[in-house]
């Protein structure tokens, strides 16, 4: 998959498609359609003929460069032998999501394209497994902590922009109270609990919040204490997202200064899976982590 192009370079979609689309969802859906077509042994020309389109349109759909009409997807799935209504509905639901303008389009002024893609993935994920070296994960930040982190990254930004960014971050947390929230499994370095972002009072409130979210049914937090010495996560923070649709590959997401990296090739993903597996067995258990956080609160 690689890096998502910076703003303005996204190839133009067909005229009849909405402009705001979650790029990565479209790429995932395209990849799934390609796998299904290849498994059925159907050449791209034939698939194109089925939906009255060219071979190159099929290719552009399969690489996620253009959007999809639901009708076309239905026809293609039937052609590829996916006849089960439930199976069809799953793919179509994904396609539906990839076409809808999402809530975050209202934050376009402060939202780089690469992060917009992440929000699409995050809201589609069934599980998010991540490792954090420095900061409390965005989904669990208090408003004050989020504001302090945002100021660190945008030192010269006017107050109004800071507030927009903080608003976006808090809005993301609606995910946690959704009807079927994704399972969130986070391993954190002890540094996340110790670095007093925003000062002692802000950090203390943030630690209470962490102890609280650790009790949510679908959330698991694990800390790797300093006392454990070096650990497998020397590579830095990352997230592995997994989706409801079994055919969609896991995606690894890593944020960089001005862009983000997405990996979905199995061989790449597996390196991160290995680190995540190792970290989660080295870290304190979720139950011991709650006690650890309470201990840190007592000490601060």
């Amino acid at each position: 998959m690689g890096t998502v192009p910076p703003s303005g370079e996204t190839p133009d979609a067909d005229q009849d498609e909405p402009a705001a689309e979650a790029t990565v969802l479209r790429m995932l859906l395209g990849a799934q359609l390609r796998r299904l077509r290849e498994a059925a042994g159907i050449p791209a020309e034939k698939a194109g003929y089925e939906i009255r389109a060219s071979r190159s349109k099929i290719s552009r759909m399969e690489t996620g460069r253009v959007g999809f009409k639901l009708r076309d997807i239905q026809d293609l799935l039937t052609l590829y032998g996916v006849l089960d209504e439930k199976e069809q509905a799953k793919v179509i639901a994904l396609a539906g999501r990839s076409r809808e303008p999402e809530w975050w389009t209202r934050y376009n002024d402060v939202l780089p394209d690469w992060f917009e893609s992440y929000l699409g993935l995050e809201s589609a994920a069934r599980s998010i497994r991540s490792f954090e070296t420095q900061f409390v994960p965005g989904l669990f930040q208090t408003e004050d902590y989020a504001r302090a982190v945002t100021r660190l990254g945008h030192q010269t930004a006017p107050e109004s922009e800071i507030e927009r960014r903080v608003g976006l971050r808090l809005k993301r947390q609606d995910l946690l109270s959704r009807a079927r929230p994704p399972r969130i499994w986070v391993v954190m370095d002890e540094a996340v609990l110790r670095r007093p972002i925003g000062g002692a009072a802000v950090m203390r409130a943030q630690l209470f919040r962490l102890a609280g979210v650790a009790e949510l049914p679908g959330v698991r937090l694990q800390v790797v204490p300093f006392a454990r010495g070096g650990h497998a996560g020397a590579s830095g923070s990352f997230s592995i997202l997994r989706f409801e649709e079994p055919d969609l590959p896991d995606v690894v997401y890593m944020e960089q200064l001005t862009s983000a990296v997405y990996l979905d090739q199995r061989a790449d993903v597996e390196h991160y899976l290995e680190v995540a597996d190792q970290l989660s067995s080295e870290a304190l258990t979720p139950a011991a982590t709650v006690l650890f956080i309470e201990q840190v609160i007592k000490e601060t």
Binding site: R220, Q222, L273, D277, L291, Q295
Partner: protein, 295 residues
């Protein structure tokens, strides 16, 4: 900063009691069997099983080894699915008809659909389940992915089956050994060679629980596969896998059930045990199974 004391760690979370065996490797030097080292260059039974059931928590070596096994004996895939289905039917019987509310599951594996406590708690929400596995990574997945019902509880123990005393003393934190317990050993005893005397291990487990308790086992059966394929499969595992396997005869498997009365239909292939009416056999498994009630 002191590490939280494991004795205080009885934090209740959403009906779940999680214990504190948070130190992989443990600090009790008396153990002669340590946790499984993390190694993705060799196949791991739990991860290969995850792959065969359609999961994604597996690595290239696991898939290569499983594919090799399928090449040698295609009904391996059916066997894994049939074994999983047997677990479901056995636990439904135990929580339903047999009225069992406490389960000790040895060799938990990577969570997938229809985990033991989900099946049991769907019938009896107050079911308490202790999961045991000797792989810290597998158990990390179980802790992260399994949610107990509010009324019931789940607990996790990092220990090797051969460390039976440790397992029983830790399991006593959640289970009341004066009341009936179901002990489940699904697709695990074939990883214990004859030299480690699995019969004594099972006998020790059964000794700890009262009359009216149950034992459920599934295990690779020697007579269920032609000798040539069986030898090829075991040789392949020696080359590619972290675990080595021991096939057992019907008679050997029956020995595990000494002191119990077998529930109908007795000792059979996994797909033959109280199959749901109308279920179609798509293959023949290579696993024996039975459920016995302690006298």
């Amino acid at each position: 900063m002191t590490r939280p004391d494991r004795r205080q760690d009885s934090a209740k979370r959403k009906g779940t009691v999680m214990t504190s065996d948070e130190a992989p490797g443990g600090d009790d030097g008396a153990r002669n069997v340590g946790p499984l080292p993390f190694d993705v260059t060799k196949a791991h039974q739990a991860r290969a099983y995850d792959y065969l059931l359609g999961g994604k928590d597996n690595y290239a070596a696991d898939r290569a080894s499983a594919d090799e096994a399928i090449e040698i004996y295609p009904d391996i895939v059916f066997t894994m699915r049939a074994n999983r289905a047997f677990l479901g039917r056995a636990v439904r019987y135990l929580a339903g008809e047999a009225g069992i509310r406490q389960f000790l599951d040895l060799g938990t594996g990577i969570p997938t659909a229809g985990n033991l406590h989900e099946v049991a708690q769907a019938i009896a929400p107050d079911s308490r389940v202790v999961y045991v596995d000797y792989d810290p990574v597998v158990l990390a997945h179980a802790r992260a992915l399994l949610d107990s019902s509010e009324a019931g509880a789940t607990e996790y123990i990092d220990a090797d089956l051969r460390d039976t005393g440790t397992i029983l003393s830790r399991a006593a934190d959640l289970l009341d050994f004066t009341k009936p317990v179901a002990i489940t050993l699904m697709s695990i005893l074939h990883a214990i060679p004859e030299a480690d005397d699995p019969y004594s291990i099972v006998a020790m487990l059964l000794d700890t629980v009262p009359s009216g308790s149950y034992l459920a086992i599934s295990q690779f059966g020697e007579e269920l596969m032609p000798a040539e394929a069986r030898e090829a499969l075991l040789a392949s595992a020696r080359r590619t896998s972290l675990q080595q396997y021991t096939a057992r005869t019907r008679e050997q498997v029956a020995r595990f059930f000494d002191g119990t009365d077998l529930v109908e239909p007795g000792l059979v292939r996994v797909e033959e045990w109280r199959q749901d009416p109308g279920a179609r056999g798509e293959g023949k498994s290579v696993y024996w199974c039975a459920v016995g009630r302690k006298r």
